[in-house]
């Protein structure tokens, strides 16, 4: 059986979903695209040869009867659309951030469970090949017990997403309580929550605006820097979001009682660092060569994957979608635990409360 998939919300990220799904014809096929603006649904359908497109989600559900719905709309609509899809018997993949508030996230998870349908959220970096390799190393006991996690997410406001939201004071990102941070910092927390067992760990956050004001509206006070410290009973974590550091880093480092492991999501490397056993100055000389050797090994592995055509930009998205579809077809647990989704939403809400971030008021159109 192949799953019939519908895409709702035909913005930038929808392309990535369709491109990955069409590379797994053994599991699924995209049968329809939907957007409130029919021209947007039409362009996605035209570019990828999707047989049907709609501007009415109810009609799509009634006519196409999809098995799975991917919701790639702005977060404010996620709860309502997911609820309708669940009622129609669909499994639902929701883009991150899952919802604008913790309460909505809880409701959404409860509804999926009550409907007996599988829910997942677009935490794709957790499924990037080096992140999967890191989890294997940790499961094999290579780092010992985790002690501390460092999660860093750099952002470029001049990039495609950044410039789109700066150009438009009414961009949906400005309607989220945490605005720019809200659309990004689940990438900080979703890497921590699997190590921090506590229901509500202590959290300390500071937010900053580093840009110079230039719009004269709510865009000017949007936070673009964040520092967070999370203290669980056994494991602590630092989270950093920065829109100004160059090159914009994206890494996660897990410090353990035996060794430390670092995943660099941009260079697609996973590096295990151990304590040098060599004496005196030799112990300071050799580690650089050891690390160089490990990086070279990673580079060669990546090159081999590239040569086999297995080194794609959206590798994490592809792995996540596959794992999710497999859970539907085989009846296994969903790839991202619901507990983690709620934990991420709780941390985000706490951050926004502490730094005083609020949604920008709707701006009357000029």
């Amino acid at each position: 059986m192949t799953l019939k998939v519908a895409i709702v919300g035909c913005g930038k990220i929808a392309d990535g979903h369709v491109e990955q799904i069409r590379e797994m014809p053994d599991m699924a096929r995209v049968i329809a695209a939907c957007d409130l603006e029919l021209l947007m649904a039409e362009q996605l359908a035209a570019r990828y040869g999707i047989p049907a497109h709609y501007d009415d989600f109810e009609r799509l559900l009634a006519v196409e009867k999809p098995d799975v719905v991917h919701i790639t709309t702005p977060p404010g609509s996620h709860l309502a659309l997911t609820t309708r899809a669940l009622e129609a018997g669909c499994h639902v993949y929701v883009e991150k951030p899952l919802t604008p508030t913790l309460a909505e996230t809880r409701t959404l998870v409860e509804r999926a469970q009550a409907a007996g349908r599988r829910l997942t959220v677009g935490y794709t970096y957790l499924f990037d090949p080096p992140a999967l390799a890191m989890r294997e190393l940790i499961a094999a006991g290579e780092i010992g017990e985790p002690v501390h996690v460092e999660s860093f997410y750099g952002y470029d406001l001049a990039g495609q997403f950044g410039s789109a939201l700066l150009a438009d004071a009414n961009h949906w990102v400005h309607r989220l309580p945490g605005r720019l941070l809200h659309n990004n910092i689940d990438h900080l927390f979703n890497k921590m929550v699997e190590f921090i067992d506590d229901e509500r760990p202590a959290l300390l956050a500071q937010g900053f605006v580093r840009r110079t004001a230039r719009f004269g509206d709510a865009r000017d006070d949007m936070h673009d820097e964040l520092r967070v410290m999370v203290s669980g009973a056994k494991v602590t974590a630092y989270g950093t979001f920065s829109a100004h550091v160059r090159p914009a880093p994206h890494f996660c480092r897990v410090y353990g009682t035996k060794n430390t492991v670092t995943v660099d999501y941009l260079a697609r490397t996973v590096l295990l660092e151990g304590t040098s056993q060599l004496p005196s100055a030799i112990g300071r000389l050799v580690p650089a060569f050891e690390r160089a050797g490990r990086f070279a090994g990673q580079g060669m592995k990546n090159l081999a994957k590239f040569a086999r055509a297995d080194f794609h930009f959206f590798a994490g998205l592809s792995h996540l979608i596959r794992a999710y579809y497999r859970s539907i077809l085989d009846g296994g647990p969903p790839p991202i635990p619901y507990r983690d989704m709620v934990a991420v939403a709780a941390m985000m809400e706490e951050v926004f409360t502490q730094i005083g971030a609020t949604a920008a008021p709707p701006r009357p159109p000029p």
Partner: protein, 337 residues
């Protein structure tokens, strides 16, 4: 007459505003800009014509209601606002959906203004024409836009939308299709000359004539089309006379602007390479983008000539000779380096 220009702080937009003021035939020139956008080009042009009736209107085409506020009272609209690059969804949103909002607003107004749409040569279906064929306004529209680059896809859809609104709602329309617009402040090397790669410029254009139009000549063409082409959806190509070949242009660019290492790629080699890139793209399941395909390469480098007889028949004259246009452009490019 009140004339509205969207995209007025762009390369062509700022030149059009200047041209409208220089001609002095318009009661009011309204320059639409989005809030927070860079207005330096527009301001510099306006400063050269103090006392002329220019009004800068901050607005948006993000909804039909917003577009209606921008449109109010305009008798002619030069619609230049478009997305030149970016993600596919953004390009469609900022070119096609904004056009729909503008057209919706026009249909709701008591007296719809005449729309002058700035389309593009990229809407022509030239891939299957013989090499050297002359493209005029009767050349068929692109039938397979999904095989073209995003810019062409977006411009094809935009022009179809305008034609639909003309046919179904009677919105008066002139479609102007410029070639490669060049001039001071513009970019130096069009894709029709070739592509800049790390360390080397791949020169694909060879002896093809570059379909250039100097930015002021193009702006003049828009004014002429708006005045004299009626509103019955006529198409008008805009391209200058006495045009250089791609190789002559590149030679001059290398002499006057930048010492560029370039390799000339003959057309058959370009096509063979494009076929390989496309096959690799499919085999690798999109590991690298299909920036070259035989279809795309044929549209860019097969070599067509473009006809401007219809534009001349309307009374357009090239106000800046090509030789002067090139000299000014290369001097500006050299100064900006």
């Amino acid at each position: 007459m009140s004339v509205l220009v969207t995209g007025s702080n762009g390369f062509l937009g700022a030149a059009l505003i200047e041209r409208l003021m220089a001609r002095g035939e318009t009661r009011e020139v309204r320059a639409m800009v989005r809030a927070g956008s860079d207005r330096r080009r527009l301001d510099a042009g306006a400063a050269r014509y103090p006392g002329r009736p220019l009004r800068v209107v901050e607005g948006s085409l993000a909804s039909a209601a917003a577009a209606a506020r921008v449109l109010e009272g305009a008798q002619v609209v030069h619609h230049l606002a478009a997305s030149l690059r970016g993600a596919a969804a953004d390009m469609f949103l900022n070119t096609v959906v904004t056009s729909k909002n503008l057209l919706e607003a026009a249909t709701r107004s008591k007296s719809p203004p005449r729309m002058v749409l700035v389309s593009s040569f990229s809407v022509y279906g030239v891939a299957d024409l013989p090499r050297g064929a002359v493209v005029d306004e009767e050349t068929p529209f692109e039938a397979a836009p999904e095989r073209r680059d995003l810019y062409a896809q977006v411009k094809v859809r935009q022009e179809r939308l305008f034609r639909d609104y003309h046919a179904q709602h009677g919105v008066p329309l002139v479609v102007v299709r410029p070639g490669v617009i060049y001039g001071p402040g513009g970019s130096g090397l069009s894709v029709r000359v070739g592509l800049r790669m790390p360390g080397v410029f791949l020169h694909f254009g060879g002896s093809n004539v570059l379909p250039l139009t100097y930015v002021d000549n193009c702006a003049e063409a828009l004014c002429v089309a708006a005045d004299r082409a009626g509103g019955d959806a006529r198409t008008i190509n805009v391209v200058d006379d006495d045009l250089p070949t791609a190789s002559a242009y590149l030679a001059r660019y290398r002499g006057e602007v930048e010492r560029l290492r370039s390799v000339r790629v003959p057309y058959p080699v370009t096509m063979a390479m494009s076929a390989l890139v496309e096959r690799y793209h499919h085999w690798s399941k999109g590991q690298l983008p299909a920036i070259f395909t035989p279809y795309k390469s044929a549209t860019a480098w097969k070599g067509n000539r473009f006809d401007n007889a219809r534009l001349k028949a309307l009374g357009w004259r090239q106000i800046v000779p090509t030789e002067d246009g090139l000299a000014r452009t290369f001097a500006d490019l050299a100064a900006r380096r």
